[in-house]
């Protein structure tokens, strides 16, 4: 089992205008894009969405193939959505009569529409995670959520937790690998047996891993205190997020896409 060759999240490193965008703007634009995808009332209204996704892919140097990878795990849900909608939606015109069921033109169109909607939702969100490192994403979320501090929402603490988790994933994986080898050397078997047996075999891996994780947490807390950490109050930041020209352009493009969708909704 190769535990070491993991990539954190699905970040696709490249130096592009999309990568350099302010993460806050990217998150907000993703939300806008999701709303836009839901707004699209017919297939034609997806055209601006497709255009935007293609343009973003070209601009960010992220190959379409990478973006489509995110769709693959969802293939069963997509097929299910399609089949259910084709057979169970009401329609007038019979397209094919299979004997036991009928496919109607209207339900076929709607099924395609709903399925594509899911595909575009996934593509849009992978565009964000492919072009933004997890830590920058966390940073962006923290800033976006920080106004909620007035209602005692722990935005800074959540972001700190996320970034510590990101920092320790490789460390803990390395350790899990080590424990696994040590237990295998003593005759533990992680690979054979049915699901329950395999789950049980994980116990001698998980117990030491948890114990060590707690010890690490204690150590880290002390090290952070020794380095004057006392919560988010009065903290300055090394990275200051700044909206630039490219962020404003992206916002305008998004506004145009939404306008186009609304227009196409009206026309058809």
């Amino acid at each position: 089992m190769a535990l070491n060759d993991i990539t954190l999240g699905q970040y696709y490193p490249a130096d592009s205008a999309v990568h350099r965008m302010d993460p806050r703007v990217k998150i907000l634009l993703l939300i806008a894009l999701i709303v836009a995808i839901f707004l699209a009332g017919n297939l034609l209204a997806f055209v601006p969405v497709v255009a935007l996704l293609l343009a973003a892919s070209a601009l960010s140097h992220v190959p379409i193939r990478m973006m489509l990878k995110g769709v693959k795990p969802l293939r069963f849900i997509l097929v299910l959505t399609f089949v259910l909608n084709v057979f169970f939606l009401q329609g007038e015109t019979v397209l094919v009569d299979l004997g036991f069921a009928m496919i109607k033109t209207e339900s076929l169109i709607t099924a395609v529409h709903y399925t594509l909607r899911l595909v575009f939702l996934v593509l849009a969100s992978s565009l964000l995670t492919l072009t933004t490192p997890p830590i920058v994403l966390t940073d962006g979320l923290e800033r976006l959520l920080s106004p909620l501090r007035v209602v005692h929402f722990p935005a800074h603490e959540m972001a700190m937790m996320m970034s510590i988790a990101l920092r320790f994933i490789p460390t803990l994986l390395e350790e899990a690998d080590k424990i696994m080898k040590a237990q295998t050397a003593r005759g533990a078997d992680f690979e054979s047996g049915n699901l329950i047996q395999r789950a049980k075999a994980m116990v001698p891996l998980l117990v030491p891993l948890f114990v060590s994780a707690f010890r690490r947490a204690g150590d880290l807390a002390m090290a952070m205190e020794a380095r004057c950490y006392h919560g988010g109050e009065g903290r300055t930041r090394l990275r200051v997020l700044k909206c630039g020209q490219r962020d404003y352009i992206a916002c305008v493009v998004m506004a145009l896409v939404i306008a186009a969708i609304l227009l196409l909704n009206r026309v058809c």
């Binding site: 830590i135 920092r167 460390t171 010890r215 150590d219 880290l220 090290a223 205190e225 380095r227 090394l238």
Partner: protein
């Protein structure tokens, strides 16, 4: 006499759940720019003493002052921790950020250093420990010695007067230990940073100004390395072994070679043997 950077005055400390005191009536003074070592076996209280100095623990008896500030006064806590930084044992469990540069920035962010000042301070700190070229790397891709040097840079960026090393080389391989030790010696020599070096490796204490031996919560022996290591038998009482060359010197003397007192390192031993052969 100028006021010492760190002054520990008749300090005792007991963990809440334990009746026995982990540190008993310890007194210690570190003058500015000095390099002191504390030696002791596991459970001798040396780590507890380290954590008493920057206010991670507060003494149950006695006082600790850093640059004239009492650690018991919680208004002083952050200033004390800035001035007396600390590097811990486990290199993995003290780095917070996913990028080296941002980890060095962590302390600066905590004490509210303006963003504009940060890059220069980070660059200097990383250069001082020879890790500048690794600024953009992820901590888990570095070796143990490199991680510890990043931890030192993190402390250094806060412009401390003193750094306490709590067994910072205990988990490193010989090469990593040497790397870290060299970096620390250089900081002490060139920037006058006061160092308190806590370890159970005798040979690391050989070049210090003063060595304190801790046993069962107390400082039982203090002096220059030459004085402290002169009698390996006495150190063995505290279940410690004198540096290998000091022990060899004693054995050679017993075998009839008139080795002079105070030989602690391999180089000194080589010189001494060559002198006798001539």
């Amino acid at each position: 006499m100028p006021t010492p950077i760190i002054s520990v005055d008749h300090v005792s400390f007991a963990y809440e759940e334990e009746a026995r005191e982990a540190v008993r009536d310890v007194s210690l003074q570190l003058p500015r720019g000095s390099f002191h070592a504390i030696l002791g076996q596991n459970g001798s209280g040396k780590s507890t003493l380290a954590k008493l100095i920057n206010g991670l623990y507060l003494p149950t008896k006695g006082t600790v002052t850093v640059c004239g500030m009492d650690t018991a006064d919680d208004r002083n806590t952050w200033e004390i921790r800035r001035r007396a930084g600390m590097v811990f044992q486990n290199p993995d469990n003290q780095l917070v950020a996913t990028v080296v540069e941002e980890d060095v920035a962590f302390g600066l962010e905590n004490i509210g250093v303006p963003t504009a000042e940060m890059p220069a301070r980070i660059e200097k700190a990383l250069r001082d420990v020879g890790m500048l070229e690794y600024a953009q790397r992820a901590p888990h891709t570095l070796s143990g010695g490199q991680k510890q040097r990043v931890a030192i840079a993190g402390v250094l960026a806060m412009q401390p007067e003193a750094i306490i090393f709590d067994e910072s080389t205990a988990m490193l391989d010989p090469r990593g230990r040497k790397e870290v030790m060299e970096a620390v010696k250089q900081l002490n020599r060139e920037q006058g940073i006061t160092v308190l070096w806590i370890t159970h490796f005798m040979e690391e204490a050989v070049h210090c100004d003063r060595v304190h031996i801790m046993h069962d919560g107390q400082i039982v022996l203090s002096g220059t390395p030459r004085d402290v290591f002169a009698d390996p038998e006495q150190i063995r009482k505290y279940r410690l072994d004198a540096p290998p060359m000091a022990r060899l010197a004693v054995q050679l003397r017993e075998a009839g070679m008139p080795i002079r007192d105070g030989v602690l390192t391999a180089e000194e031993m080589t010189k001494e043997v060559l002198r006798l052969c001539r």
